[in-house]
């Protein structure tokens, strides 16, 4: 029995643990009057148990927040603690940090492009079904993923939750000889990455634009990855230490994740904003390395990209960028005198930002004179994007209310996938409800 005016649809899936992410859409008459994306957010727990730990521990502890982007957590943590301690990491050690981060970008983006997002555009229910018809394409994705993992394993010590990262740099720096096979691997991967851009650029994309303010890092002369100044499309620019003055987090009743808003935008459409590939690309496309820039141009991206469905192209371009950057860093590499710089604890606060695959990841730590963490704050990209995602979904659903529930459910899921939300490292439960009561 179906009551058209009071109907609930649910698609749900369970992987390995507790918790859930859910989307709730409420329609009244011909208007979508509420969209809620409920996200369980693990970093809040980590903030609590970082208190009382030594200043050397956050990189290893926070890496466990996320199995897909541990390097992002390690890097933002290291930079925040180094900032608190007045230490500066640059030269070859900073280059190795960027190289490791390139590995994470490649792995995360390729996983999303091939396993998750592409099946939407090709009409498959999932990567398994797509693999049956497109063996060569999926093998290409696996080969690219291997290239990312190769960087992670060499520099990080292993491909998940790297163990070679420490405050001040690394426990061990590779030799030039060790990097040589990695460079060959990456040179082999580069044409695969370029093929990926051409492949995804040929997909059909719905006509949809997100109007939000954009927030990303920027660096002079190069694409932002492991560090940078925070900038917005509206012209704000501030260092990591200014993050909490500009990004205000608030509790909302329906989610354990805080919602973020950007203060002082002066925009009529509100203070929501978007971070991640679209923002990163749109605010930094002029800084892409040559082959990535050419690939973007050939894919028709233009100087900016505001269609979330086309984020798959941006991710593919960023894979090219990461490979190019990794090759450049390897070519310029000379082993540092020591794999890390000395970091002596002192009382104070420090701030760190980096561009996780899903957007800006902010860390702040307060240390006492012995280097014990007194407080920690982590602002992950998905919670920053939550309000923008909800707003996009509201407009997306409003324009498609004439679809039946099954099709609307499916398209909403695809729309959410555009953002590759990190609902939680281990929380894989999506429950979509459309209430037309």
């Amino acid at each position: 029995m179906t009551h058209r005016q009071d109907r609930t649809l649910a698609t749900s899936g369970l992987a390995r643990v507790e918790g859930e992410g859910a989307m709730h859409v409420r329609v009244r008459g011909s208007q979508v009057d509420e969209v809620r994306l409920d996200i369980y957010e693990p970093p809040r727990f980590f903030e609590a148990f970082l208190r009382g730990r030594s200043y050397t521990e956050p990189p290893d502890i926070t890496a466990r927040v996320c199995g897909i982007c541990p390097v992002a957590y390690q890097t933002s943590a290291c930079q925040a603690i180094e900032d608190a301690c007045g230490a500066r990491v640059d030269g070859q050690i900073a280059g190795l940090r960027r190289l490791l981060y390139c590995g994470e970008w490649i792995g995360s983006h390729v996983l999303h492009i091939y396993m998750l997002h592409a099946p939407d555009f090709l009409g498959y229910p999932g990567a398994v079904e797509m693999a049956a018809d497109h063996r060569g394409i999926v093998e290409r994705g696996l080969a690219l993923r291997r290239a990312g993992n190769a960087i992670m394993e060499l520099l990080g010590g292993r491909s998940i939750h790297p163990v070679n990262v420490r405050v001040g740099g690394f426990y061990r720096a590779p030799s030039v000889a060790e990097l040589a096979p990695l460079a060959r691997h990456l040179r082999d991967a580069l044409p695969l990455a370029l093929e990926t851009v051409r492949w995804v650029a040929g997909f059909d994309f719905p006509d949809f634009t997100c109007p939000h303010e954009l927030l990303a890092l920027t660096e002079s002369g190069r694409y932002p990855i492991e560090r940078g100044t925070v900038v917005t499309g509206g012209g704000l620019a501030f260092p990591a230490s200014g993050f909490e003055q500009h990004v205000i987090e608030e509790q909302v009743p329906h989610s354990t994740a805080l919602h973020a808003r950007l203060a002082g935008t002066g925009r009529a459409d509100g203070d929501r904003y978007l971070t991640g590939p679209l923002a990163r690309y749109s605010l930094n496309s002029g800084s892409l390395p040559p082959q990535a820039a050419q690939a973007a141009a050939e894919a028709g991206l233009g100087r900016d990209c505001r269609n979330p469905f086309r984020s798959i192209i941006v991710r593919a371009v960023e894979v090219v960028c990461a490979i190019e950057e990794a090759l450049r860093l390897i070519e310029e590499y000379q082993p540092p005198a020591a794999p890390s710089v000395a970091v002596t604890p002192r009382e104070g606060a420090g701030y760190g930002v980096s561009e996780a695959p899903r957007g800006v990841l902010y860390h702040r730590y307060e240390l006492d004179g012995e280097g014990i963490v007194r407080s920690a704050r982590i602002v992950p990209p998905t919670s920053q994007n939550q309000r923008a995602i909800e707003d996009d979904l509201r407009r997306f659903v409003q324009a498609r209310l004439h679809f039946d529930d099954a099709r609307l459910t499916s398209e909403c899921e695809q729309a959410i996938r555009n953002y590759d939300p990190c609902i939680s490292c281990s929380t894989h439960f999506l429950d979509l409800r459309i209430d037309r009561g």
Partner: protein
């Protein structure tokens, strides 16, 4: 202990899980117990369950043994299961996050790409607590030795049944 298996080589044992999610750390705990105990050439690998990594790890291996925590309803924490997989089940959902892909996806893709190991055996333990934090619950901690022994028997047995 963590790394990629050598394709075409010997058996691989993969512990899937996260030590910071309570009983989800059962797989890594079993691998820690096996470290240094397994026959020469056997690869031990801790994984977060990401499918591309799993596929790479078991491609070409004559035997892949997976150790993982599972949730059952109704469940009996610490209860053990052994599955010899001949056929991947269809994925029931399409996750919105790349964190949501897992063993089932890895098996499905491997089958499509002819990358399945010679045999794939899953040893699973029912979890009591998959919340945040380190440390296994007593019911799961109590069976880690049993699980490690079961994996050792897989590695030394001539037959898979």
């Amino acid at each position: 202990m963590t790394g990629s298996a050598a394709p075409g080589g010997s058996a691989v044992v993969i512990g899937i899980g996260n030590e910071f999610r309570r009983d989800d750390g059962a797989g890594p705990a079993v691998l820690a117990r096996l470290d240094g105990q397994v026959p020469a050439g056997v690869t031990l690998l801790v994984s977060d369950g990401e499918p591309a990594g799993l596929i790479e790890a078991w491609t070409g291996a004559p035997l892949a043994v997976i150790v993982d925590a599972v949730r059952a309803e109704p469940g009996v924490p610490g209860r053990l299961h052994r599955l010899v997989l001949h056929q991947a089940g269809a994925a029931e959902v399409r996750p919105v996050s790349s964190h949501g892909l897992g063993l089932d996806t890895a098996i499905g893709i491997s089958r499509a790409l002819d990358r399945m190991p010679g045999a794939l055996i899953v040893h699973a333990v029912e979890a009591a607590d998959l919340g945040q934090g380190p440390g296994l619950t007593p019911a799961v901690a109590a069976v880690i030795d049993t699980l490690a022994g079961a994996v050792m028997r897989e590695l030394t047995s001539d037959q898979i049944c």
